[in-house]
């Protein structure tokens, strides 16, 4: 299934799912599960709840797939759904989420192919867990999920300028936190 669709963009796969083959939705889930679990975990910091959030998000996305505008980026759309679901969980439990030790999700992307980069990434992830969500989320999206400013703006529903400001402030906050560590 993946072989036939690997050259297709997300939006093209979604179009096929909507038109004639719902089974192809598995391709979308395969493509995004790792990234979305990592993202959900960065927000909720609870493995089981992150899994639930991601699964619920996939179901919600499937139900509303006809409402997705294929001229827009599917990735921003699905990230937004996960963001909404995660925020619901955070509000529901009214809690400061606990810190994690050594938990990570495998990713299909081989973006960390050198040790220094891996080391920096690990340090960044550690510091990210210690700064407020307001700042950690845009940083996570920018440097861990490698989203553009425009995509972050779409996912968080904030203007581009606000994205830039939050990332800039987040770097300063993070610098202080990392230096303490």
């Amino acid at each position: 299934m993946e072989q036939n669709t690997e050259n297709l963009s997300d939006e093209e796969v979604v179009q096929k799912v909507r038109s004639f083959d719902q089974e192809l939705y598995a391709v979308i889930v395969d493509r995004y599960q790792g990234k979305l679990l990592r993202y959900a975990l960065s927000l909720i910091k609870d493995e089981q709840q992150s899994l639930d959030v991601v699964q619920e998000s996939f179901i919600k996305a499937f139900v509303n797939l006809q409402g997705f505008d294929t001229k827009k980026k599917f990735s921003s759309w699905i990230y937004r759904i996960v963001h909404n679901e995660a925020m619901n969980i955070i509000k529901k439990y009214h809690k400061e989420t606990p810190l994690l030790d050594g938990i990570d999700f495998p990713s299909d992307e081989n973006i960390e192919d050198d040790f220094t980069k891996q080391e920096i990434t690990d340090a960044v992830k550690k510091c990210l867990r210690e700064i407020p969500l307001l700042y950690s989320e845009p940083l996570e999206l920018r440097y861990v999920e490698e989203k553009s400013y425009e995509e972050i703006s779409d996912i968080l529903h904030i203007p581009l300028g606000t994205v830039a400001i939050r990332i800039s402030r987040a770097k300063k906050v993070m610098k202080r936190v990392c230096q303490k560590n």
């Binding site: 889930v29 679990l37 996939f58 409402g67």
Partner: protein, 164 residues
């Protein structure tokens, strides 16, 4: 955890099959958009109407402002205000429900909405449409002065007296 990760696809697809989860039809979203449009349009029109009426009434009162204000409050079609509020709330609710994952800053939308109402109300008032509405159409009944007001009108016995 990696085992659970692998099972996400299986779990999602199984739920879709076993719980018979289906995609909402396209018409559902079209209907939602139409409802949103109707709700917002109705609330804008109603709000503009009310704002224009209010401003017109206050402006035309002159020194009897307090008395006229009481009269306006007693004659005011409050149901229309509730319709406007209901339309606004329904419109935003629908927008959130149907476009839940697209970027929309609802604070900006609400602020823009209010500013648009005020601006349109001023324009309607300045162009004299309020006066036209007050003499004909649905506004006629609302804006018709009571018999006690007639005496202050130029040409009436009282008004005529003051005009002399």
């Amino acid at each position: 955890m990696s085992e659970e990760l692998k099972s996400v696809t299986r779990n999602v697809m199984e739920r879709i099959h076993h719980e018979k989860i289906t995609m909402r039809p396209r018409i559902y979203f079209i209907f939602g958009s139409v409802l949103t449009f109707i709700g917002l349009t109705a609330s804008i029109l109603t709000s503009v109407f009310l704002f224009s009426l209010l401003r017109f009434s206050l402006r035309s009162h002159g020194p009897m402002g307090a008395y006229r204000w009481e009269q306006l409050v007693s004659n005011f079609p409050w149901w229309a205000l509730f319709v406007a509020l209901f339309g606004l709330i329904l419109g935003i609710w629908l927008l959130r429900r149907y476009e839940f994952s697209y970027k929309m800053n609802f604070r900006v939308i609400a602020l823009g909405f209010i500013l648009a109402i005020i601006a349109t109300g001023f324009v309607l008032d300045m162009t004299g449409l309020s006066d036209v509405l007050s003499r004909q159409g649905p506004m006629k009944g609302i804006m018709r002065p009571s018999s006690s007001d007639d005496m202050f009108r130029p040409g009436s016995s009282f008004g005529g007296f003051y005009n002399k």
